[in-house]
Amino acid sequence: MVLTQFLILGALLFSIGVYGLLSRRNAVTVLLAVELMLAAVNINLIAFEAFWNTAAAHGQIFAIFVITIAAAEVGIGLAIILMVFRNRASGNIDELDLMRW
């Protein structure tokens, strides 16, 4: 196994996440796409850790931080979506245009 194959896989996964982020209307599916992008970042971190092979495993520690922040983000994100749904009776982000010019 070489490093490049993991980097390309991560890039592919990140691009798929970008596509989902931009093309989805439903807020829950947008969050799913964000999770995909974070997973791509984690693959890069772990692959670079395997490449540099540091004694203190810094890459793995950062991956765990990313996982933790992602968990917090999902909790808050879903709570916000729940709020929006309660107030607007819709889970579609293109209908949230109050702050639009």
Binding site: L3, A50, F51, L78
Partner: protein, 188 residues
């Protein structure tokens, strides 16, 4: 390293056996017309990435991923889907009608990243060498020492972020009672 050398390594078959389902599952996450299916395809993609972490000898991170993501985050997603009554079942307007700008942006991101990987590979070199850490498990104790020594302050900060997210989530998601209901609750 040529492709025939690369494919001759059995460990790369394991890589492909995880990477291909992962990419397919990721594509289904962003294109599926059913929200629940999208969330379940995310489970598949994350399970495959946990498998890749094990290949890269990051066992602890792999199991953290399984516990936190597959065990907690996806369950949270499924609850979120049910509570927001996001359309369960086949649904046609889960995505925008015009999707080509999103596809173009994604292709652009991939092209730029690919170009960067190419450039950095030529600059640094060694990206085509076998990964040194493969086959040598990372002792979890190293990670624990990292968390309580060098990364102590980020560790505490992340703990605070989790606490804030917990409180924020409860505050945002709880229903505000009307004064009459509050009195009812106080009496009971």
């Amino acid at each position: 390293m040529t492709f025939s050398d690369w494919i001759a390594e059995p460990v790369n078959w394991a890589f492909l056996a995880m990477a291909i389902p992962m990419v397919v599952a990721a594509l289904r996450v962003v294109t599926s017309r059913n929200v629940v299916h999208a969330a379940l395809f995310l489970v598949l993609a994350l399970a495959a990435s946990a498998g890749l972490f094990i290949l890269l000898s990051a066992e602890f991170v792999a199991w953290v991923l399984v516990l936190v993501y597959i065990g907690a985050v996806v369950v949270l997603f499924l609850f979120g889907i049910m509570i927001t009554r996001a359309p369960i079942g086949r649904e046609t307007n889960l995505s925008h009608d015009t999707r080509w700008p999103a596809a173009a942006a994604a292709l652009g991101v991939f092209a730029v990243t690919f170009w960067l990987i190419n450039g950095v590979t030529q600059q640094i070199g060694g990206f085509g060498d076998p990964l040194p850490a493969v086959g040598r498990a990372t002792p979890t104790g190293i990670l624990g020492e990292g968390f309580i020594n060098r990364y102590l302050i980020p560790f505490e900060a992340v703990g605070f972020v989790l606490l804030a997210a917990l409180i924020g989530g409860i505050t945002l998601a709880r229903k505000d009672l009307t004064p009459a209901e509050e009195e009812e609750g106080a009496r009971v």
